[in-house]
Symmetry: C2
Subunit: 549 residues, 2 copies
């Protein structure tokens, strides 16, 4: 008789212990109705991932254990279903990134993660002790073992499970998304597990947590390492797998692949939705300039939250072209989003007049450009305070990398939707979104002219971004190589970029570190974003330029 394994690809919320426990019981009920024998949940499913310094609070650990114990009791309600639930488990002075296996109100075993990632966005050695003692348990005569996430990125833990006689490896994950991560995960699991001819049931978290987005994409591999089942991406799912001990096959349903643009768009939508909703905001506000960044941000917000929960604020100045206002209005209209239009001129003039005595003898410079941006920031934050809606910032990764943005101006806001999208990707996602479905008025949600005009901050006459920056295709390529791939300047130079441009970009990146330190979080969708995996000092005299010397 086949064994039925249910992978509960759930969206836990960090710190919401009772809510997550309730969610696990709900999905367990559903899994039972579908004939499940075993229910596998993601890494730290009971507490959300990553709980960060909550793990240093004794009360958090005690409460986690209490809620886990309650779940064990409640498991009596679902006769013979075996639960595998992740939570931080304290044993004397040690804390493990653990899983507990229980059935019919009784604990069958525990597993503690062996490999603790402490690179990129991960700080697990700050919180956890390594364990790795194999946990193999029986269910309908089949021997199942547990690994947790990073464990399968190395050979040790799967080999230990195999040595203990495991027939199927259950892998609990909170594996964050970035572009191409799916292929990477598969390859690593195949390399470390499939060589033992061990079928794999890989259950991943889904949802947004601050800067991280978990894409779900739970899957199964048979003993040969072939993909035999695949869950939804970017939404909750319950993936049912049938294990046949005779053939060692592990079979379920297969969801289709998605294009890279489609993945990125869904990741940003999910990240935005979860940040806004998990933090209890009723909606969001976007400053809409008539440019592509704010247009895409508005589209993502409207798709994530529904158009009624989003307000666009158009804030023109003397430097704003009429076509910018027209395009902004058209974009909001197509998305069905309410707008406010507020000129920044009166407040800007009042500020300039107030500052005039202190500025005596000094001509206009970047100060006045920043002032315009800051008036917009103040207006948006006032609307946010008054209405309870969260301000979404609209800066892209190219701008944030080189500091082409104003602290306390366009950087004001709680969540930076496209913070990890290079400018070229902003266009790619905008075009992709226009192909999905038209606006409520039948027009493209991002007006064509927005996609073809030269980008401008419109903070002085006839300004374009390229007055201050290298062309975006060059800038983006250098940023991708330096930030995401970690190339040296020599490698970047040998790819064909000029020494002058590389040096300019390096200087701009280093000089804008202080802005990024005070930036809002935003969804990470690349291998390296400006968040927890970018920890450069502010005070720093090292310049990559030195390497040209």
């Amino acid at each position: 008789m086949a064994l039925t394994i249910a992978l509960a690809q759930i969206n836990s919320t960090v710190g919401d212990l009772p809510g997550n426990a309730h969610k696990i019981m709900q999905v367990a009920q559903k899994a039972t109705e579908q004939g499940a024998d075993v229910l596998v949940t993601p890494e730290l499913s009971l507490v959300g991932y990553p709980p960060e310094d909550l793990l240093l609070r004794p009360s958090f650990l005690r409460r986690s254990q209490q809620v886990l114990d309650d779940l064990v009791s409640q498991s009596k309600q679902l006769s013979d279903l075996t639960f595998v639930v992740g939570y931080p488990r304290q044993v004397n002075d040690q804390v493990f990134n653990a899983a507990t296996v229980f059935r019919n109100g009784e604990v069958l075993g525990h597993y503690g993660k062996l490999e603790l990632p402490n690179y990129a966005v991960f700080d697990e050695q700050r919180y956890f002790d390594p364990d790795g003692a194999p946990c193999v348990f029986g269910c309908k005569g089949v021997r199942l073992a547990i690994n947790i996430c990073e464990d399968v990125w190395f050979p040790r833990a799967p080999a230990l499970a195999r040595a203990e006689g495991a027939q199927v490896l259950l892998v609990m994950n909170a594996s964050p998304f970035h572009l191409n991560k799916q292929a990477e995960r598969l390859q690593v699991v195949q390399s470390n597990v499939s060589r033992h001819s061990l079928p794999v049931a890989f259950c991943n978290l889904v949802g947004g947590q601050d800067e991280l987005v978990f894409d779900g994409d739970s899957f199964a591999l048979d003993a040969k390492g072939e993909v035999t089942a695949r869950a939804n991406r970017f939404s909750e799912d319950l993936l049912m797998l049938q294990y046949d001990p005779q053939s060692a096959s592990l079979i379920g349903s297969l969801q289709p692949e998605m294009s890279a643009e489609y993945q990125a768009y869904h990741a940003l939508t999910l990240g935005t939705h979860d940040y806004v909703r998990k933090n209890g905001f009723t909606g969001a506000l976007v400053g809409l300039s008539g440019g592509v960044d704010s247009a895409l941000t508005l589209a993502i917000a409207a798709d994530a939250l529904g158009p009624d929960a989003v307000t666009a604020v158009i804030m023109p100045s003397r430097y704003t072209a009429q076509i910018s206002i027209d395009d902004a209005r058209a974009c909001a209209k197509a998305l069905g989003v309410q707008t406010h239009e507020i000129s920044i001129e009166p407040a800007y003039d009042a500020l300039v007049a107030s500052l005039a005595p202190a500025f005596a003898g000094r001509g206009p410079d970047l100060t006045e450009e920043n002032l315009q941006s800051r008036v917009r920031g103040v207006l948006l934050m006032a609307l946010s305070n008054k209405t309870g809606r969260l301000v979404l910032t609209t800066g892209n990764k190219s701008e944030i990398a080189v500091g082409y943005c104003t602290l306390y101006g366009d950087m004001s806001g709680g969540y930076a939707v496209i913070k990890d999208l290079l400018k070229g990707w902003v266009y790619r996602l905008s075009r992709m979104r226009n192909t999905l479905h038209p606006g409520v008025d039948g027009a493209p949600v991002i007006p064509e002219r927005i996609l073809t005009r030269a980008p401008s901050a419109e903070l002085r006459d006839n300004q374009t971004d390229q007055d201050s920056l290298p062309p975006y295709d060059i800038l983006d390529d250098i940023l991708m190589r330096f930030v995401e791939q970690g190339q040296t300047v020599a490698e970047i130079e040998s790819s064909g970029h000029s020494r002058e441009v590389i040096a300019q970009v390096m200087g701009l990146i280093r000089g804008s570190e202080y802005k990024r330190r005070q930036a809002a979080p935003g969804a990470r969708i690349t291998r390296r974003a400006f968040g927890r995996d970018w920890r450069f000092p502010l005070t720093n005299r090292f310049s990559e330029k030195e390497l040209f010397l």
Copy 2:
């Protein structure tokens, strides 16, 4: 014949490899003139501490090795002086937090740190591989061993050095300051090293690096663990030690102790000085309200940078009491600091008028208070942009903990001078500063009335901080227990605080996490500050209040 060991308590700058190398050669010259046989520098002295993600750049590691190699060559100029210099040393795929010993142009050996701290502000397991193979070298017939910082917080590394026959342990440190750290260091070193009857020469870094302040306080212990020499605190020093192999004594000069308030004041002054100067700013700007926080911030800034490099900006509104303006003027005058006075009323009125249509039907609330604060932020940032001076923010730890501050308003600025001072400590340091020396006009630098008035944000009529917050003595005690000591709510309750107040404070801390995430860095002077050692999620439904349930 006695061996002379020189402890070079230097102020390295992160990333300034040639500058730090030059500094090491300068101090080596001076040490030679004073008869030194061995020159010990702090942990990672060549590159500054902590270099953070610079350590992930291959170019940074290569360049560090180059500059180290240059130093080895230059050591020929100082005949027979043995150098002990810290830098990140790459060996194949491994990177060590290392020290290299060299003399007369030749390398005598290497040491790699064994214990890598990965808690509090430290992320060393993100960057380094552990080593710990003992490095014992001879100098004038004496056997000297090296440990690096965290090594002496555990028994293993000192025991290994002892087993290799070391007669003196040289300890290279980048040990950050917090109140009472001095006593803690001594006790730990005595416990782990002195039990081996091993004299200790402990060389610590001095200076500010972003949120960290290194206090110097290099010292020597004799074989019995008695302190026999002590360097300056909060400034560079060269501590000369005489080691007599006969008596195993290690003798130098002893600097006197400092009070806790004096230490804290010096730490903040050094942190402010180094942030402003190492980042190349010509000076600083402080918004001066007539309250104690901005008065103390201004005093620290003037002491750190000199009064000519500091500008105070007084920005009254309809809610500003005349005595606040008078006291602000008196404070600036006593400190000899230039002032600007700019009313926020015209800009505030213009913003309110611009927002009126969007606000139709909604009465005044916190929005209007935040608007006032944000106009001040915009004015300060405009002055900063125009003059190149850095804005120093004036919020204290009590306010920042509970979110009693305005994002993009009074939180606008590059460095938060008193961010780690609870309100009670703000008063303590203010009174202490008034006893040091009077103002340039003979008056107290912080006018007495500022120290006795009830604190108010002056954002509406007759407002005081205690309208919104528990009394500061209660708030501060709860914060000290929760934030700095990590007590549970049960422990805090048993110390005598009411459940209602504890729950209120816990709720305020959790609800203001998003503000702290976008806050400027500021000097850490307690066991736990709101910086790298405070990593709570923004999206977080766990409340300590749950523990009362």
